[in-house]
Subunit: 305 residues, 2 copies
């Protein structure tokens, strides 16, 4: 874990002069709110979203000092640019704004897949910019600028996946940004990040979307009953299944290998359970259930549940 | 939905003279607590559990008027006997207590699978007894007599699956029992019950146990990371995975056909999603995610989430 930038915050000098938040969905609007409120993150918070209606809404919400009308205007004069767009859009948006960034500025992102974002952005980089890929592990099932809130990142992890040979000072400043949002930070390499997220986040979302689809395919009365009796277990799966479709489509497509590998393992395990049920292998079934309890107990012990 | 037994409760005459609760786990101990507190359910609540330590604990907790030392003693003189044991134990326990029941008494149960319970108990029945299979759709991830609480059934469904030709008055009284616990009641046939529960409850539990097992198999650092970063989605699956192993082993084995059928559908759907991810079929992926959102929205609309 990176140490908090104690001196800076103690001196009340903001970490950045101007932060440009690009994309004002759940994450971007939460970051903007936090930066605007804290005063220690940036002297000025500039927002830009490709959607005119989102820009108008951000003006109404008053969650940035200024809403730029173009991405070029948003990033000019910013010493930190945070890409908060779906991972499938990272390359296009980065290509558009990199030419307008000021020398020495930091470019970072919040994408849920890190190898794909690096693959897209690295070839576009200028030598006078610092690129620090990051991923705040925070979110809710809601999306859009109204869904954000300034405490979203508190007590949550932000993972940083700096490139080899990149400036440690730039990485430390991005870590500081998230720490000032209340997050804990940790560095790891991008392939490791993508594998870890495949099992803790991407596979659970895939399973949640899938079981909702399976239930949705049931006919008439059966489908209604799923809704009525959902509290018996099904409901636990539906919260994360309400998440943003474009974001998750992009995550699945951009962490394909790790996700399909984890789904393959899961499917083998589910088939082994099915076989044990079919043949009445009580010991196997109890062993699998006991593992579930063990994992839950471990979560409670480390205060993650 | 059966109408509440308004006259009885208005007159403050208890619905039963003596209710015997057999098995004091989460469900049995919640029912005992409720019956003891309400006064309108039974004049006397007698408890029995096969485990001496559970019996001792029930005495300490004071959640029944009397704790019987034998199952025969528990059911003698009871006009309602409620079997609250794992579905795999229903047949054995019923065989033991049926000879000691008083003529005209009602035998009911709380098992999560109804066809298997009926299959086991029906051949053991005496013509002077009424058997009304039931299933309160309530529970938490905790188990044992300490885990119960008197409001567990409030606002939840209890499904009744009466046998063909059985006495409607007996069914109405069992419905009344659950209504006095705060539950809503509905009648359906047992095969329909088992199919509905396979998708709303049994499959979600199977998936939750399985993903916990898949995560538990990861080595060293990866396994630790699952725990640390669980809030990203994985955690939603672990609550129900903490449920009682013997109860769930029995549920899986006793609703085998319906559960394996639902798991097969789910697996087809998951494989279709995997294929769409592998081949980049964006429209398919978005369609499946949209369904998840729709199901969640429907749940919120009918106030089940």
């Amino acid at each position: 874990m990176t140490e908090p930038l104690v001196e800076r915050t103690a001196a009340k000098e903001p970490l950045f002069e101007r932060v440009a938040v690009i994309g004002l969905g759940l994450i971007g609007s939460s970051l903007a709110r936090r930066a605007l409120q804290s005063g220690t993150i940036a002297r000025e918070v500039v927002a830009y979203d490709a959607s005119p209606s989102v820009r108008a809404r951000v003006v109404e919400l008053g969650i940035a000092h200024r809403v730029a009308e173009t991405v070029a205007d948003a990033v000019q004069g910013a010493d930190c640019v945070v890409l908060c767009v779906p991972v499938g859009a990272m390359g296009v948006v980065a290509a558009e704004l990199i030419p307008h960034m000021q020398p020495g500025a930091i470019l970072t992102d919040v994408g849920s897949t890190k190898q794909s974002v690096i693959r897209e952005i690295e070839p576009l980089l200028r030598p006078d910019l610092h690129f620090v890929p990051a991923h705040p592990l925070a979110g809710t099932e809601y999306s859009g600028p109204d869904a954000g809130f300034s405490t979203l990142f508190e007590g949550r992890w932000t993972l940083l996946t700096p490139l080899e040979g990149s400036d440690p000072e730039a990485t430390a400043r991005v870590a500081g940004l998230w720490q000032l949002c209340g997050a804990m930070t940790r560095e790891m390499d991008a392939p490791h990040h993508d594998k870890a997220l495949a099992i803790v986040s991407h596979l659970p979302h895939l399973l949640a979307f899938t079981i909702c689809g399976t239930a949705d395919d049931l006919e008439g009365e059966s489908r209604n009953e799923v809704l009525q009796f959902a509290a018996s277990g099904f409901r636990d799966f539906t919260r994360i299944a309400a998440s943003d479709p474009v974001m998750w489509r992009d995550v699945f497509l951009n962490n394909r290998e790790a996700l399909l590998e984890m789904l393959a393992r899961f499917t083998e395990d589910a088939q082994a359970m099915a076989r044990a049920i079919r043949w009445g292998d009580e010991a196997f079934i109890v062993d699998r259930i006991e593992r579930g309890r063990r994992i839950r107990r471990s979560l409670i012990e480390i205060k993650q549940a």
